[in-house]
């Protein structure tokens, strides 16, 4: 049982595990892509539904946690060993090179030699440690933390995300998820000179207890635990329509997702053969009509696929042609908004921050001044000499070998 446990733990902590799991999902993606255009969406749906796939994906953050703990422990053991200068903690595999010298020379002269080559040296009665450069260990920790956050975030997002689309209409109550009648007071779009965005969308909400809240674009605001994710803009005009065979007319509010100008939406006149196509007319001044509020609608009226009337009407105005009358006495702005409950959003952003930090640390540490360590410690039968380098290995190896030669020469001189 213990052996099985050991094998299981070895697999879980193996550095081959994450690439293998990723390759597995990549093959799945490629397989699905043969049959479907929505390969990624289908793969995500499969992971969500199939517990085996969910567990398989969960192995990646689990592996990162185990590796983080193990690598931290190994780093601390090595640090402790060098600090205390005791040979008890020295085990094979801890350093790149390890050699036992069967004699016990004085390390004092070596101290000067290593210091002269640019290494910082620390000596105790029984040991000599020399090192230079910056270790990439913090970058490694940041990277592993990033892996944990990224894949945990993906896992949370895949398994717990819920989305509900609502139309936020100016002046209308927000019916979502509450019996309390919170109301959208105002929707506005403004020019905005931001780093990434050039427009700012503002949705003002008045809660039932008189508190006013304002929601923007990004970072997403929260409402009752759900993120607000504005998707599309539109208008809700009051449409007044009459035709030669519909003299009594017809009046109702429509929700038309027709932003930006040129985008078309349509609506049926219930109980008739009429269908009206709407689009937002571009402003002649070049301004955005949604921002200025001076909106005009282009319309086409079809009766059983035959166009019977077309035209352009300012919101608030009316058009009348050949017995067809179409007016928009009132309108309100609309934002189609997704209310998203997702516990993976923040961990994924944090992961990106961790990865960026890891890269910023790793690049200079690895290429400008990598960590190199040499350690001599007095054992029972002589000296243990170990060396390790995170970069510039050949040059560091030369320093280490020269130090060993120097010890050998010292012994020969003393003999």
């Amino acid at each position: 049982m213990r052996r099985i446990g050991n094998v299981f733990f070895s697999v879980l902590s193996s550095r081959a595990l994450p690439p293998l799991v990723m390759v597995f999902f990549l093959i799945m993606y490629a397989g699905i892509a043969v049959f479907s255009d929505e390969a990624l969406a289908m793969l995500m749906a499969q992971i969500r539904r199939n517990p085996f796939l969910t567990i398989l994906l969960a192995l990646i953050p689990l592996n990162a946690v185990i590796r983080l703990v193990r690598e931290t422990a190994r780093f601390l053991r090595r640090r402790r060993l060098i600090k205390t200068g005791r040979c008890e903690g020295l085990v094979p595999g801890m350093f790149d090179e390890m050699i036992d010298l069967s004699f016990s020379p004085s390390l004092a002269r070596l101290q000067e030699q290593l210091a002269a080559t640019g290494y910082r040296v620390q000596a105790t009665e029984t040991s000599l440690a020399a090192w230079r450069g910056v270790t990439v260990f913090p970058a490694r920790i940041l990277f592993l933390a990033g892996m944990i956050f990224l894949f945990s975030g993906i896992l949370f997002s895949l398994t717990t995300r819920t989305t509900r689309r609502e139309m936020l209409i100016e002046g209308e109550p927000l019916s979502w998820a509450t019996g309390e009648r919170d109301r959208i007071e105002n929707v506005s779009l403004q020019e905005h000179a931001g780093l990434f965005f050039n427009r700012a969308l503002t949705v003002k909400l008045a809660t039932h207890d008189g508190i006013r809240k304002t929601f923007g674009l990004y970072p997403p605001s929260r409402y009752q635990g759900a993120f607000l994710y504005p998707r599309y803009l539109g208008i809700a005009p009051l449409v007044r329509f009459s035709a030669p065979d519909l003299p009594g007319g017809f009046e109702t509010h429509y929700i038309l997702m027709i932003y930006p100008p040129g985008k078309e939406d349509s609506a049926d006149i219930p109980g008739t053969a009429y269908r009206v196509f709407f689009s937002l007319a571009p402003a002649e001044s070049g301004d955005d009509p949604f921002i200025t509020g001076r909106m005009a609608l282009l319309f086409r009226v079809l009766k059983e696929k035959e166009p019977v009337a077309t035209g352009r009407v300012l919101l608030g105005g009316e058009s009348s042609k050949g017995g067809y009358r179409l007016g928009f006495p009132d309108f309100r702005r609309v934002v189609a908004t997704d209310f998203v409950r997702d516990h993976g959003v923040i961990p994924i952003w944090m992961a990106l921050v961790f990865f960026a930090a890891a890269l910023l640390w790793w690049l200079p540490a690895r290429f400008i001044s990598p960590r190199r360590e040499i350690f001599f410690v007095q054992g029972f039968n002589g000296i243990h000499a170990v060396s390790r380098a995170e970069g510039m290995r050949i040059r560091h190896g030369g320093v280490f070998h020269a130090a060993l030669d120097s010890l050998e020469n010292n012994r020969a001189t003393h003999d």
Partner: protein, 447 residues
């Protein structure tokens, strides 16, 4: 043009034989017989596939095998890097396997079958009876070439014994080089296409998951930068990254091999000599992945600039009737029954749409846009048994033209009338508008 294709196949087969001859230290005759037998069997397998499987199925089977081989190459390269950079591990040599006659013969036969199959796809026509004479000629030529290249192999300079991954890298690169000379067996173009789709999917999903607003709110210059991710250049470079990575991994595995510990040697000169010898040997072994890289680059070149001429007629201008219908007669100025694609251009009120009509093998007609829902609308050209998307170079078998999805041309609804085809002009313009808007739009481009 035909001679060029022949040269590619001969070069690839010669390269494979020389590499196998150098890689395996077993009896030359055994290797030669295994290779020749494999090749002849491969030609027979190819002929059988082409005659028994209908439509694109035979090519799909061959491509699936090639894809599996490429994937295996990827995994072996990853494992090589893993072993090479592992702590306290050493790179095992290929010595044992290369000395084993059974494994050498099996490898040679398998590679021979693959090479023979690829050659058969080049020379044997699809469908109908198996052309025995052609099969015999192609198989016999392969056997003769095997003998010739085994003669040449003796004059090739000695190389260090390769590792399994190195041998695999070279053999796979030669196989892919050979297959890329046949457009319907080319793996690189579909790979580029898949990478474009994958990048698109990932970016789109990232935006959705991270609740990032749509392009309406972005500064145009920021959005243009994001838009670079959806171009075919990114697909091409991404495809190249995936294409060359196994070879780069093999090279990295060699380069990152730990030098042997020489700390126990107290003679500085001896230490340096030993290390120098190891470094030199490591460098020499890098030649093999370099050769593999060159062959893969040649495969990419063939894929991007195929030696094929496409039928690409100039679009004929058409107009709509007063009721808004476009009518295309079956015969007349253009004969729609010739099995070729025929392109048309419809313009109305400043809007235009390009579409094509094709008679399929069953005698029916297909009307599609001269554009797909993923790529920019650069249009299609026709080659033997397929149309090619000029933008992403993906080959679409003629049997699947008219079916939606992927890089297939977008189907257009039409009415089959007695003497021609009727298409609704407004619907056509709208469909073109949606498609072109979708492919020029950045986020959600393929929606």
């Amino acid at each position: 043009m035909g001679a060029l294709k022949l040269t590619v196949l001969i070069l690839a087969w010669g390269g494979i034989i020389i590499v196998l001859g150098r890689g395996f230290s077993v009896n030359r005759l055994l290797l030669a017989v295994s290779n020749a037998t494999g090749f002849a069997a491969g030609v027979a397998v190819g002929a059988l596939l082409l005659s028994t499987l209908q439509g694109d199925a035979s090519f799909a089977v061959a491509k699936a095998v090639l894809s599996a081989l490429f994937l295996l190459h990827w995994l072996v390269s990853l494992a090589a890097l893993y072993r090479s950079t592992g702590e306290g591990t050493t790179v095992e040599r290929f010595q044992k396997m290369s000395n084993n006659p059974l494994s050498a013969a099996c490898c040679s036969i398998a590679v021979g079958i693959l090479a023979g199959t690829i050659c058969s796809f080049r020379f044997i026509p699809q469908g109908g009876e198996v052309p025995l004479l052609t099969v015999v000629i192609v198989g016999f030529s392969g056997v003769c070439l095997t003998a010739f290249f085994f003669g040449v192999e003796q004059f090739v300079p000695k190389m260090p014994v390769p590792t399994a991954e190195v041998l695999m890298a070279i053999v796979v690169s030669f196989i892919l080089f050979a297959s890329s000379s046949i457009p319907r067996l080319d793996l690189f173009s579909p790979l580029v296409m898949k990478v474009m789709k994958l990048i698109h999917d990932i970016v789109h999903q990232f935006f959705e998951s991270m609740l990032i607003p749509d392009h309406l709110f972005f500064r145009p210059e920021v959005w243009n930068y994001i838009g670079l991710l959806f171009g075919n250049r990114v697909g091409l470079w991404g495809g190249m990254l995936i294409w060359f990575t196994p070879v780069l991994l093999v090279a990295a595995a060699i380069r990152l091999e730990r030098l042997p510990s020489v700390a126990h040697i107290r003679q500085g000169a001896e230490r340096r000599t030993l290390l120098k010898a190891h470094i030199r040997e490591r460098r020499t072994r890098l030649v093999a992945p370099l050769i593999a890289g060159v062959m893969l680059a040649a495969a990419v070149f063939q894929s991007r600039f195929p030696a094929v001429e496409y039928w690409d007629p100039k679009p004929l201008k058409v107009a709509a009737t007063p009721s808004g219908s476009i009518f295309i007669p079956l015969t007349g100025e253009i004969d729609l029954k010739d099995g070729k694609i025929h392109k048309f251009l419809f313009k109305e009120r400043g809007r235009d749409a390009r579409f094509m009509v094709l008679q399929n093998s069953a005698g029916g007609y297909t009307v599609t846009l001269d554009a797909c829902s993923i790529c920019k609308p650069d249009g299609y050209g026709q080659t033997e048994g397929a149309v090619i998307c000029y933008y992403c170079k993906t080959l679409i078998p003629l049997e699947t033209v008219g079916k939606p999805g992927g890089c297939n041309p977008v189907p257009v609804p039409f009415m089959m009338e007695k003497n021609g085809i009727a298409i609704d002009g407004a619907a056509l313009l709208n469909l073109w508008g949606i498609t072109v808007q979708a492919t020029n739009r950045v986020k959600g481009a393929a929606r």
